[in-house]
């Protein structure tokens, strides 16, 4: 399921699961719904387990359109799986990648406890409650599950662990 959430006037398109020829048109439509209005866009790829050329094409098209109209655009939380494909396609230096994981370990590091010498450190102290909530009117959802989702559901393994 793909979602659009708004935070601080920036719309973020959250892609998830497997982005392929079956559901990439939906991702494209959602991307265009933001970009065609001239709005800043982030595409969050943290939950993307697989992406093919049709999915990557959505990311490229977003770049082309946002560059043309000088709209801010970033890819955020790019998963290891997606980074692998972008690197294979030599697009990792072309697409505006703001943040990405390099290994599963790095993704887990984000959950680490703060350093012991940072007395009284609260990792959430800089975040207000509004940062953590999303009002229903700010969420646009699209159910892109296909019939194939009801078949065998093997876990997608991280391809970049040796």
């Amino acid at each position: 399921m793909f979602e659009i959430k708004t935070q601080n006037d920036v719309k973020t398109l959250f892609l998830s699961g497997e982005v392929d020829l079956d559901n990439s048109p939906t991702a494209r439509d959602m991307m265009l719904s933001i970009v065609n209005l001239g709005q800043a866009i982030n595409i969050d790829l943290a939950a993307v387990e697989y992406i093919d050329s049709s999915g990557v094409s959505v990311l490229i098209e977003a770049l082309q359109k946002t560059k043309k109209d000088n709209i801010p655009y970033q890819l955020v939380n790019v998963s290891v799986e997606v980074m692998g494909v972008l690197e294979l396609a030599n697009l990792d230096n072309i697409l505006p990648i703001e943040s990405h994981a390099t290994t599963v370990g790095q993704e887990l590091d984000e959950l680490d406890e703060p350093d012991a010498d940072e007395v009284g450190f609260n990792p959430f102290s800089s975040m207000s409650d509004s940062d953590l909530t999303t009002t229903p009117e700010n969420i646009v959802k699209s159910d892109t599950e296909s019939e194939a989702d009801n078949t065998s559901n093997s876990t997608f393994k991280n391809p970049f662990i040796g």
Binding site: E18, L21, I60, A89
Partner: protein, 132 residues
């Protein structure tokens, strides 16, 4: 081993699952995911170009393991493609969005070409070879 499915985009996931199940335990995870991507891209091309969209026509994917290589055969019933064709762009800057899939295939597999189909019910036979 083989799988035959109607050429619908929703079936690409089944083809990926089939492929992943075959190659897992034969090679490492990164290689498995690259091969799955190559197969997915080849099947996408069948749906997009050979069949011009979702179709009830069939895609057949065969996978074989040999001592030093894997052979992946993709069969389709679309218009006959000239043998040996499928030349990707040499630079990523030359690649249009539509050519990205072919470029990925070219990077992943060691060899790919259209050869004469030995299956009478299929017009086209794409063979991809991935060396261990």
């Amino acid at each position: 081993m083989f799988i035959e499915l109607s050429a619908k985009t929703k079936n690409l996931k089944k083809i990926r699952l089939f492929s992943r199940d075959f190659f897992t335990d034969l090679i490492n995870e990164q290689q498995v995911n690259y091969i799955v991507l190559a197969i997915d891209e080849a099947c996408q091309n069948v749906i997009r170009y050979a069949y011009e969209g979702d179709s009830d026509k069939v895609i057949r994917v065969e996978v074989k393991s040999h001592e030093d290589e894997f052979i992946i055969d993709i069969f389709d019933q679309g218009m006959v493609v000239p043998l040996g064709s499928m030349q990707p762009a040499k630079k990523i800057s030359e690649v249009s969005i539509g050519g990205l899939g072919l470029n990925l295939i070219n990077k992943i597999v060691d060899k790919h070409e259209f050869i004469s189909s030995e299956l009478s019910s299929f017009n086209n036979h794409l063979r991809m070879i991935y060396k261990r």
